[in-house]
């Protein structure tokens, strides 16, 4: 353990935290940096629990998966560019589209948003870390290992091959004898652990870790988005983990959950999968919508129109999102009455999305737009969001869906939703927060090029897929005959997808160039309103030298907005430097409640992650001894992790604090 009694803790349980300031260069600031800095070299690299490091790791790892999934997509596009191509065998094609789906949906789209939220949450909320820093590290390590696990069989030609929704009975042992599906099933159970602990961490962080005065109505929309997604994940992920676990039992232990010959039910899989699958779709877009809701106002020089409406619509979307899963199953022979209900809900779910769209347009209209690269991505996103939403309304209409379902129209729809609502805000968000991440600005010229190439390439690539779908082209076919009439649209799609890839490439070049030669960024280069811009760029290890007091939604615009008497106090606040400390506040009003002693760096999350992943490898290889050994090692690591330590005892602050009134 690295943290063995470095500090001699003050054990009095009613310590009053000192209020003061710690300007850059002061002794107090140096002390904080020393407390929060990770050890240099590989030791710090493996043991760090800093949410910023973890956030960047999430972003980088998710982007690597995005590139892998993108290359898979391009290979498929070459195969489909013309009819009757034989670049790939059917089995290769099937593994490629399956891995493409798994990669983009599970290994890119949520993890990349977890990256933003991990990095930004404590900074936006005025805290020094997430609620459970070690759990945070564990969440990342398991995500990484689960990703490697899911890809491990790919080079052997035994990757999952049944599509990302993996319908039984095709995935039962009888029809799919290789290790392909076991890799997917076990990998998903493993990944589910990461998602679950990550989600719990976000939920607790929101309700416990906000700076004093940051009442629930003052948190940024990104926080609402991630909170909503996290709550949803806590309910949705068990469904899919259970489904995959049952499938694995069917395959390896001889159970009959989905085995028709022995009374199993194939439809059970579809229900369990989509009860998870649909909420998940919202989990991977709501935080991204939050990115836009928070960053767009900066470039419009005015606050977001309808903050409360947008926050409420975020949650309404998720609530309704739990009642629409049947729209993935309209063609399964359910009675028309049930279809009517779920069809109507699926159409109603557009209303909260409409709230957000009108809020964004009104914000632009009433503001003074500045045409920086992030603004282009966010404005482009609004267009793609509307197209994806409208094709969503079409597939929600039951009779129409019975035609559109399982055709390229769905492929078009889901790419407008996932690329349009996830990738565009994510790339825009990276342009926006890059100075905070790395202390340098990204290049604007390359930025604008990357936007236009991506935007044109995306629409050229994916809009014709709607047409292919209307012409009857089914999903997941490895080739097609020339007389089907799909040749032209497919060629256009292939060209567009390569153009889109070129746009991504320009973006990556921009990152490399800007990391080396970008202009040095000030603390708040965009003149943005939210708290993360109050700290230096890049953010210091301790985040806030003093825990600030917050009096409004826009702490950095208060002098100009004149929204009330209260003024946030950013320079003066709780010093809290007897070890790694931050303040815990009450869930709704954010009144200071407790001094939270934060854990030091630790190797245990890495080893718990590693050993649990290896235990899954043991299950995959049917090696009982190895599995048991790894499970024991994992338990041992957990015991070390959870061993009680005196210096983590928390002390109640004994202060009176009036909401909204600054101290100092």
């Amino acid at each position: 353990m690295t943290d063995a009694d470095q500090n001699t803790p003050d054990l009095s349980l009613n310590r009053i935290p000192e209020i003061g300031s710690a300007p850059a260069g002061s002794a107090a600031e140096a002390r904080l940096a020393e407390l929060w800095e990770s050890a240099p070299g590989w030791r710090g690299w493996l043991s760090t629990v800093d949410h910023k490091t973890i956030g960047i790791r999430y972003l980088v790892t998710a982007f690597i998966f995005l590139l892998l999934g993108g290359v898979e997509a391009l290979v498929m596009r070459v195969q489909l560019a013309r009819p009757d191509q034989t670049l790939l065998t059917p089995e290769q094609y099937n593994q490629l589209f399956t891995m493409h789906g798994i990669t983009m949906i599970f290994l890119y789209s949520l993890p990349v948003l977890s990256g933003f939220s991990n990095y930004l949450w404590p900074l936006m909320l005025g805290s020094r870390d997430m609620a459970f820093p070690r759990l945070n590290a564990l969440s990342y390590w398991i995500f990484l290992f689960a990703g490697i696990f899911l890809y491990a069989s790919f080079p052997l030609g035994e990757a999952p091959n049944a599509g990302w929704f993996n319908y039984v009975p095709f995935t039962e042992l009888h029809y799919n004898t290789g290790p392909n599906i076991d890799v997917y099933a076990l990998g998903m159970v493993l990944l589910g652990i990461s998602t679950t602990v990550g989600s719990i961490n976000f939920i607790v962080t929101l309700f416990r870790m906000r700076a004093p005065g940051m009442s629930i109505g003052r948190v940024p929309i990104l926080v609402w988005g991630t909170l909503t997604a996290s709550v949803a994940n806590v309910f949705a992920v068990p469904s899919v983990s259970l489904a995959f676990f049952m499938l694995w039992l069917d395959r390896q232990m001889g159970t009959h959950f989905f085995d028709v010959l022995n009374g199993g039910k194939p439809l059970l899989w579809q229900h369990l999968f989509w009860m998870f699958g649909h909420p998940w779709v919202y989990a991977v877009v709501l935080p991204a919508m939050g990115i836009v809701s928070d960053a767009l106002p900066t470039f419009c020089r005015r606050p977001l129109v309808g903050y409360s409406a947008v926050a409420l619509s975020t949650m309404a979307t998720m609530l309704l999102g739990f009642g629409v899963w049947i729209h993935h199953m309209f063609a399964t022979g359910l009675p028309p009455l049930a279809l009517s209900f779920f069809g109507a809900t699926s159409m109603v779910i557009s209303i909260p999305s409409g709230v957000a769209v009108f809020a964004w347009i009104a914000t632009i209209w009433l503001g003074r737009p500045m045409f920086n690269t992030p603004f282009l991505f966010f404005a482009g996103f609004v267009v793609l969001f509307v197209i994806g939403g409208f094709s969503g309304v079409m597939v929600a209409a039951v009779p129409l869906d019975l035609q559109l379902n399982e055709t390229y129209f769905i492929v078009a729809h889901l790419h407008y939703v996932l690329l349009g609502i996830n990738v565009f805000p994510v790339v825009g968000g990276i342009y926006y927060w890059f100075p905070k991440f790395f202390g340098r600005m990204m290049n604007e010229t390359l930025g604008k090029w990357s936007f236009w190439v991506m935007f044109i390439g995306f629409n050229l690539g994916f809009f014709p897929m709607h047409v292919a779908g209307l012409l009857g082209m089914p999903r997941r076919i490895y080739t097609y005959a020339p007389h089907m009439g799909w040749s032209f649209v497919n060629m256009v799609t292939t060209i567009g997808s390569f153009l889109f890839a070129a746009g991504i490439l320009i973006f990556l070049v921009n990152i490399v160039v800007s990391l080396r030669r970008g202009a040095t960024a000030a603390a708040n280069p965009w003149d943005a309103p939210t708290l993360e811009w109050a700290v230096a760029s890049p953010a210091p290890v301790y985040n806030f030298a003093v825990i600030p007091f917050i009096a409004s939604r826009h702490p950095l615009w208060e002098d100009r907005l004149d929204e009330g008497a209260g003024r946030s106090s950013l320079e003066q606040g709780y010093l809290l430097m007897e070890g790694r400390e931050t303040i815990g506040t009450t869930p709704l009003d954010a009144l200071p409640d407790v001094i939270l002693k934060m854990p030091d760096d630790s190797y245990t999350p890495f080893f718990v992650g590693l050993f649990s992943a290896l235990a899954f490898v043991g299950l995959l290889l049917h090696s009982r001894d190895f599995t048991v050994l790894m499970a024991l090692a994992c338990s041992l690591s957990l015991m070390v992790w959870l061993w009680p330590r005196k210096n983590l005892i928390q002390r109640v602050p004994d202060v009176e604090y009036d909401k909204g009134v600054a101290h100092g």
Binding site: Y307, T332, A397, L402
Partner: protein, 345 residues
């Protein structure tokens, strides 16, 4: 060969010319993109849906244009020059959300009602179906069973469904292995075929013609080549076809044909049946009236003697992973087998 219908395109002619049932008028537009359900519908189970598609597409396109215009105007409209440092208050602009969401809700309500009315229209036929068939999905072909109260009038065929024109036909959909989905888009929406369940789907063709269908639920390595055809015929032609299909094979086994029959019995009958003979395999398509069918290999090939030979000897090249093996036969054996197969009319 009566393919005189001037509407046939070149490819259509090719297909028609090769077809064994030559008297059918082929729907012309179907030839350009035969699964194009957005512009073409040939029956009451798909027509209301096609209209719904047009109305939704038109309406949403108009709304999309309005929203994009609003966005463009929002970005570019002239603003009074102000101090660039000042920030507007938070409160304004709520009317955008109230009005926008209000209009959205009204339009969505109307669309939902229209959608439900359409669903009601396509959910079941106006009058009781005249004919019931069972279609069973196999990896990667379709078994088609024509039911009858009299067992001797029942018969089985594959990949080609004949129906009388203008009559609703009820399809019972099953699967013996994995989930497939039955889809003849210009006639009706799709329905999954789920093992252990019997789903139902009705179709009705308004015009005589050949309508293409395709499996749309990913079902494994040859999902791409799991096609079928629906042949809609006049009442009389349909009855004649049915009568022909009911007959058992009546092959006179002489010379080459006899040699071919022996090869068939030895090498093919484990999977394929020829009614009226000892060949009664159930894993592959019933071949009793093989030559009456237009297509082979789940729609991959047109049914010609040459294609049939290629299919028998090179199935794994033409359709990798298919359950049909590539048979190793000498030239003499192949010609004997062909001679036998050519009698299965």
């Amino acid at each position: 060969m009566n393919c005189s219908t001037t509407r046939c395109s070149l490819k259509g002619k090719l297909l028609c010319g090769l077809a064994a049932t030559p008297t059918l008028a082929v729907s012309a537009e179907n030839r350009i993109a035969p699964l194009n359900y957005f512009l073409h519908s040939y029956g009451p189970a798909s027509m209301p849906t096609m209209h719904l598609g047009w109305v939704f597409t038109g309406l949403l396109t108009v709304i999309f244009i309005i929203i994009v215009l609003l966005l463009v105007k929002a970005i570019f409209h002239k603003r009074s020059i102000e101090d660039s440092y000042s920030i507007e208050g938070e409160e304004q602009g709520m009317s955008w959300i109230y009005i926008g969401t209000g209009i959205t809700a009204c339009i969505l309500f109307a669309m939902t009602v229209y959608m439900l009315l359409t669903l009601n229209r396509v959910a079941k036929p106006a009058h009781a179906p005249a004919l019931t068939l069972t279609v069973t999905g196999y990896d990667w072909w379709w078994k088609v069973e024509y039911e009858d109260d009299d067992p001797s009038r029942r018969f089985i065929t594959a990949n080609e469904i004949h129906i009388p024109v203008g009559q609703p036909v009820l399809l019972k959909l099953k699967s013996v292995d994995v989930i497939h989905a039955f889809w003849v888009p210009v006639l009706a929406g799709k329905t999954q075929m789920i093992p252990g369940l019997t789903n139902q789907q009705w179709i009705e063709a308004d015009a005589e013609g050949i309508y293409l269908g395709q499996c749309t639920q990913y079902c494994g390595v040859q999902h791409a080549h799991m096609g079928l055809e629906v042949v809609a015929q006049s009442e009389a032609e349909f009855a004649a076809w049915q009568n022909a299909q009911r007959k058992k094979a009546a092959t006179i086994l002489t010379g080459d044909i006899d040699a071919g029959w022996k090869i068939f019995l030895e090498q093919c009958a484990g999977c394929h049946a020829v009614r009226g003979t000892e060949a009664n395999g159930i894993h592959g398509p019933d071949l009793t009236h093989l030559n009456s069918r237009r297509l082979l290999a789940g729609g991959l090939l047109t049914n010609t003697p040459d294609n049939l030979e290629r299919w028998i000897t090179h199935a794994q090249e033409l359709k990798p992973g298919a359950r049909m093996p590539s048979m190793v036969l000498t030239t003499a054996e192949m010609s004997a087998l062909s001679a036998f197969l050519s009698t299965l009319n």
